[in-house]
């Protein structure tokens, strides 16, 4: 297939995944900030939402204060934030238009309808919490529908595999970022772990990666930071864990390699990262430092993106 087509499919999936992640982040932050101050401590949750989205610096160029109104506006609707939800959906549609021929009509319909709804219903943003909740649900449902229609309607060929690569690469990045920020915020007060304050913080992390229920099923325990880290980093039964993302990345890259009769740098690199995850234990990660581990992972993940681009997309 055309390199540009593969590139568009890859970015299309990334944008949709990112839009969903941002919606989840806002949603989780809203829940935490709705609690009385005694439960959430002194940290500014909106600040940490900006950090997990990786847009803190650009936000403060445009705004003075990280409060609900400003951050929601910036993350969800701002035209000047290149990765706001609005811009993600715009970019997803533009990419879809460029690869109309590689999309199934169900996928196109999902993106196109979302784009139309974005203009017609959400053109002016939201004016109440209720509307905001509706908007966030709309974004998440769009992503689910897109993912589902890709899964159910696409031929299992390189078009599908490149689209999956975009999705898992973006997802791995998002999970890593939220873990990193939250650990940074929360762990200095390690002695309080398990107190009511952290409990809600941890809940919000899990919620933002839709893993709260999963946690209880897997561990049958109260929330413990190292178990949460274990779940999000190493447990490959959880679809948003780093381990699961890398199983998928390796599998899809292998399929491309087999179809094209040639392996390359991206296959090797992805396998390297996956092997590291497979052979890691939480104890070692804690000893090594969670922050360092995740930072390294984020860099490795970004590197995979570059290698895939070089090998296939240009």
């Amino acid at each position: 297939m055309l390199s540009r087509t593969a590139e568009n499919l890859y970015w299309l999936a990334r944008y949709v995944e990112r839009a969903e992640y941002l919606a989840r982040t806002i949603d989780a932050t809203l829940r935490v900030t709705a609690l009385p101050a005694a439960y959430i401590g002194k940290t500014n949750e909106w600040d940490s939402a900006l950090l997990t989205a990786g847009v803190s610096a650009s936000f403060y160029e445009a705004y003075q204060e990280a409060n609900e109104q400003n951050v929601v506006e910036y993350l969800a609707f701002s035209p000047s934030n290149p990765s706001s939800i609005k811009n993600c959906i715009e970019a997803a549609r533009l990419n879809s238009r460029s690869v109309r021929t590689a999309l199934t009509s169900e996928m196109w319909d999902t993106i196109n309808s979302a784009w139309i709804e974005l203009q017609e219903v959400w053109g002016k943003g939201t004016s109440s919490r209720e509307e905001l909740a509706k908007f966030l649900r709309f974004v998440q449902e769009t992503s689910l529908r897109f993912d589902g229609s890709a899964y159910r309607t696409m031929l299992r060929n390189d078009a599908y595999w490149f689209s999956r690569l975009g999705l898992h690469l973006e997802r791995a990045d998002n999970t890593a970022r939220i873990l990193d920020v939250k650990y940074h915020v929360l762990l200095p007060e390690e002695e309080h772990v398990g107190g009511p304050l952290d409990y809600y913080q941890w809940t919000s992390i899990l919620r933002s990666v839709s893993a709260l229920t999963a946690y209880h099923w897997v561990y049958r325990e109260t929330l413990k930071p190292w178990l949460i880290a274990d779940l999000l980093i190493l447990n490959d039964t959880l679809p948003r864990s780093l381990a699961s993302c890398y199983s998928n990345l390796v599998r899809n890259l292998d399929q491309i390699g087999v179809a094209y009769g040639r392996q390359g740098a991206s296959q090797r690199h992805a396998r390297g990262v996956r092997n590291r995850l497979e052979h890691s234990h939480m104890d070692d990660i804690f000893q090594h430092g969670v922050h360092e581990f995740i930072q390294e992972f984020i860099a490795d993940n970004a590197r995979l993106g570059e290698i895939i681009t070089k090998q296939y997309l240009i």
Partner: protein, 472 residues
Amino acid sequence: MAVAFDEMNGPGGDLRPAYQELSRWLKETPPDALEYRRQEAELLFRRIGITFAVYGDAEAQERLIPFDVIPRIMSAKEWTLLEKGLKQRVRALNMFLRDIYHGRDILRANIIPDDLIFQNPVFRPEMNGQDVPHDVYVHIAGIDIVRVDADNFIVLEDNARTPSGVSYMLENREIMMRLFPDLFARHRVAPVEKYPDELLSALRSVAPLSASAEPVVALMTPGVYNSAYYEHSFLADKLGIELVEGRDLIVKNDEVFMRTTEGLKRVDVIYRRVDDDFLDPLTFRPDSALGVPGLMSAYAAGNVTLANAVGTGIADDKAVYSYMPDIVKFYLGEEPILKNVPTWRCREPKDLAYVLDNLGDLVVKEVHGSGGYGMLIGPAATKATIEAFRDKLKREPEGFIAQPTLALSTCPTCTASGLAPRHVDLRPFVLTGRDHVTIVPGGLTRVALKEGSLVVNSSQGGGTKDTWILDE
């Protein structure tokens, strides 16, 4: 201006045979049911994403072309005549182009003045003496046809460069079949769905000799911001070929390749929807980022076929158009089946004088214009517009031609105040391959939705209709 010929209710208000069943059906169908279907059709178009862009209109970058649900119907007999005329005309166009870029018999016979060709900006000296596979220049032609009475088809324009609109012909039919299955059951409508297959086989048949047994065809688009981008992606999809942009192509050793995830892959035939000027920055506009450096050199080496060929603009120049009846006679020795609109060439002083004296009654067009941009419709224009146009004409007379205002035929059309006659034209699409010329029965009917308006172009508020050719 004479009263327009109505295709449903002919002169004297007699229902014409092709419309009998439709007329009966319309009487049985309550108006609100029709309105409901109309809304449904619009919803379908929007969801499929069939839009077009209007240049210079920032508010509505993507717009729907209004679709009118009342079909335009022609009998098999009418179509047979039209088809014959179209084939004749396109054969002549191809022979004319071959001649202009080779022996130039028609110039030596003094049928067309030399300077009209050589001074013409759309004449491409790069094509002098260059052979194209099987002498086909215009693989895809869109011939704009109008009617003024029951017996005559008149060619308004020949589009021999990159005619668009065929996706609407195909989608209009799809949507009509979804919305009005009962109406189809009562007619025998010739299908149009073979068009993509016929286009692909025409394109393959003109692959260069150096191509493999399975020539690779690609459709080249200027990109998503082009007004016809929807059509480009639609056609690539229907043909099952790659939709490429200039940046996807690269020329090596005079061969064209596309960049794929598995490396470079040779392309043999390019159905290009990019104008000549933007094909190759080395040959044409150096500032163009849309093209492929070296493409013209691969073309000259005979390693790639461009459809349509480079330089076909000289055949749809509106001043050359005025010579079409002579062109048909010269190459084919036949009387032209399709008529021309009488045309004054403003480059000729006698004609210019007449045009300047009668601006209020004439339609004046730019010789290289398309899409209804930059034309004057005398009877509908204000005095100030006419005067401004007069200055333009005097400054650059060779840039314009003028024609009488035709009373285009009308068809019943849904309007805010019920069914009413609106002016229509027809663009059939004529395909030329190695051995034969084919036309799927029908084409794109465009309708001027404003009462009395004669401008059917989508960029000027025109709509479209499904076009039915009835099988006997």
